[in-house]
């Protein structure tokens, strides 16, 4: 009898232990095993190289072999000596001011008009979204031709008698950057418009009815009901577009590669050339780090304004 009790106590102990073990396995090991594969891939591709960029930005490194530690030398050269960096940064700021105004105005006005329309609303939404789904290489090649002074729109206008219309937009140092921004915007603004439209459609109808009763005209309605109604979306997209405008690369590379004579150089094309044409990987990492700093500053500015009570 006593013996039997002992046995069962031992048995209970082992089942208890294995129960705790199974619990641990089911509640912690299995769930993390499910997360691990994607986590590891993301760490290898994004987190690891991002952290090592901090180190490489302090080195002279060709990408092959040992990196030579040179302290803040790269940053000193960037800030005080490199005229290309200065021009690229200025172009990024031009790009930023273009993209936080032109596509936003275009998208807000269009979404405002489209939100009032019933018939054909889906058709317009879909059609205006189409440029956004096209690959950048195609958009660039279409517009390279349309902007050409010989076969493009300007060239045809000149042939038809409009004097001086055959401008080489992409070959002109004053116009190249704006022409690229125009092309990127042609591709991008429909996305913004669809986002704003979705936000506008979730504004309660009573607000518009109330505004009508108060005798508001269309413009007052738009300014006092629609804009406040979509403010969270608007503010978030302003922040994201500002951050993205420091990363721009594809359209500049495809249309001018930063030319003519560096007129459309941006930080992205500069990093590409430094890292993959000149093999100045340490210097390129330093530029990438300053670019990230600008992104952090923009996000910091928005967070600060929100803390100060701005409703964004």
């Amino acid at each position: 009898m006593a013996h039997a009790q002992e046995v069962s106590a031992v048995g209970q102990k082992t089942t208890l232990r294995s129960k705790a073990g199974r619990r641990f396995f089911r509640k912690i090991v299995v769930p993390w095993l499910f997360i691990m594969p994607i986590f590891i891939i993301h760490l290898i591709v994004v987190a690891g190289p991002s952290l090592s960029a901090f180190y490489y930005s302090l080195t002279e490194w060709s990408g092959l072999g040992e990196a030579e530690f040179i302290g803040l030398e790269n940053f000193r050269e960037l800030i005080f000596e490199d005229m290309t960096y200065r021009r690229a940064l200025r172009n990024n700021l031009v790009w930023l001011s273009f993209f936080i105004t032109v596509p936003f105005i275009l998208a807000l006005v269009t979404a405002g008009f489209l939100a009032q329309v019933r018939r054909g609303s889906m058709f317009f939404r879909t059609a205006l979204f189409i440029p956004y789904i096209l690959p950048s290489v195609i958009v660039a090649s279409i517009w390279r031709n349309l902007l050409s002074p010989s076969v493009g729109i300007g060239g045809q206008l000149a042939k038809a008698g409009v004097e001086g219309a055959d401008i080489a937009f992409l070959g002109n140092t004053k116009l190249a950057l704006l022409a690229i921004a125009f092309v990127d915007n042609w591709h991008f603004w429909g996305f913004l418009m669809v986002l704003f439209l979705a936000a506008m459609q979730s504004i309660p109808v009573d607000l518009y009815d109330a505004a009508k009763i108060d005798g508001a005209n269309r413009w007052q309605e738009f300014w006092n009901v629609t804009i406040p109604g979509i403010r969270p979306t608007l503010a978030f997209m302003l922040m994201m577009v500002a951050v993205w405008s420091f990363l721009v690369f594809e359209y500049v590379w495809l249309l001018t590669q930063g030319g003519p004579a560096g007129a459309s150089e941006v930080l992205g094309t500069m990093i590409f050339k430094q890292a993959f044409n000149r093999f100045e990987a340490g210097y390129a990492a330093a530029i990438g780090l300053t670019m990230s700093l600008f992104a952090v500053m923009i996000i910091g500015l928005f967070t600060f304004l929100r803390r100060r009570g701005w409703e964004i």
Binding site: R26, K27, V30, P31, W32, F34, I35, I38, I41, H42, I44, V45, V46, A47, G48, P49, S50, S52, A53, Y56, G63, L64, T110, F113, Q116, V117, G120, A127, F129, I130, Y132, I133, L134, P135, S136, V137, I138, I142, N145, L146, V151, G155, Q156, W186, G190, V194, R218, V241, V243, L247, E250, W253, G268, I271, A275, A281, A285, G288, S292, A295
Partner: protein, 279 residues
């Protein structure tokens, strides 16, 4: 009421005029592209923007041949299929764990993914390039696939997680009572129930990979391995003057996207606007 209704109707005319003009702005370049894809080069030189005078459909087979599309399409299809499969599989497992199993520390993981998805790509691209070269992953399609999977995983994890959270857990509980393990629950219950979420993510990721240029430009250097985008870029720089051929090639590249987009546009727009934070 009648008066109001009438006023509304007449006041919509300016809306349609402006929307119509914007429609022309958005679609005219594509119509011109379609026109030029079936013109001869002589026709283009005289009449670059108008409709074709005669149909030159042979531009298409010529562009397919000269542009090496047989090979590059295969490369792109490989990239799209393996990235979508990898993202859905691995992202789906992680999303399921986050939505249902709530392991300790999962909030930190989500915070990490959110932060990682806002990092500027130029911060890690340069060190990643040299890491890939050291690991022998540079100039390989699977090396490119791994990068695409990583960059698309935050979108997949967040979108799939929120989709799974919107589903009732009853079926999963029933399956567990019947003795199914978590992997079986995932494959037999969760996957079949959340297919609309998987489809949305799959479409967005497929579109992104098919159109991707910047990373492919940096990480693949061998023309035999070029996807359609970098190959098209090379093609247009070799045949700058041949607008007919490059237009035909462009139409071949975007036609599949356009057809799938128009067929499934609600899902596309939903996926791209909810999580597709790409410029």
């Amino acid at each position: 009421m009648n008066l109001l209704g009438q006023r509304r109707q007449t006041s919509l005319a300016p809306n349609y005029i402006i929307l119509g003009l914007l429609l022309l702005f958005a679609l005219c370049p594509l119509v011109i592209l379609g026109f030029n894809s079936v013109k001869s080069n002589i026709d283009i030189a005289q009449n670059p923007l108008g409709p074709p005078r005669a149909l030159h459909l042979e531009n298409y087979p010529t562009a397919w041949e000269v542009g090496g599309f047989a090979n590059t399409t295969l490369n792109s299809v490989y990239l799209v299929v393996s990235t979508v499969a990898g993202v859905l599989m691995l992202g789906g497992l992680a999303a399921y764990s986050l939505a249902r199993l709530n392991p300790p520390g999962s909030n930190l993981f989500m915070l990490y993914m959110l932060g990682g998805s806002t990092l500027p790509i130029w911060l890690f691209l340069v060190p990643l390039f040299f890491l890939w070269r050291t690991l022998g992953l540079y100039n390989t399609l699977y090396g490119l696939t791994i990068i695409y999977i990583a960059l698309n995983s935050p979108l997949a994890v967040f979108l799939l997680r929120s989709y799974m959270l919107s589903l009732p857990a009853d079926f999963e509980d029933a399956a567990r009572v019947d003795g199914a393990n978590e992997l079986q629950v995932f494959f037999r219950i969760v996957l079949p129930l959340s297919w609309p979420g998987f489809l949305t993510v799959g479409l967005v990721v497929a579109l992104g990979v098919w159109s991707e240029f910047q990373i492919a430009l940096i990480f693949v250097n061998d023309p035999k391995l070029f996807p359609v985008t970098t190959s098209y870029y090379q093609f247009t720089s070799r045949f700058t003057r041949d607008w007919a051929l490059t237009s035909a090639a462009a139409v071949m590249m975007i036609l599949p996207i356009l057809i799938i987009f128009l067929a499934l546009q609600r899902r596309f727009i939903e996926g791209l606007t909810q999580g597709g934070l790409r410029a």
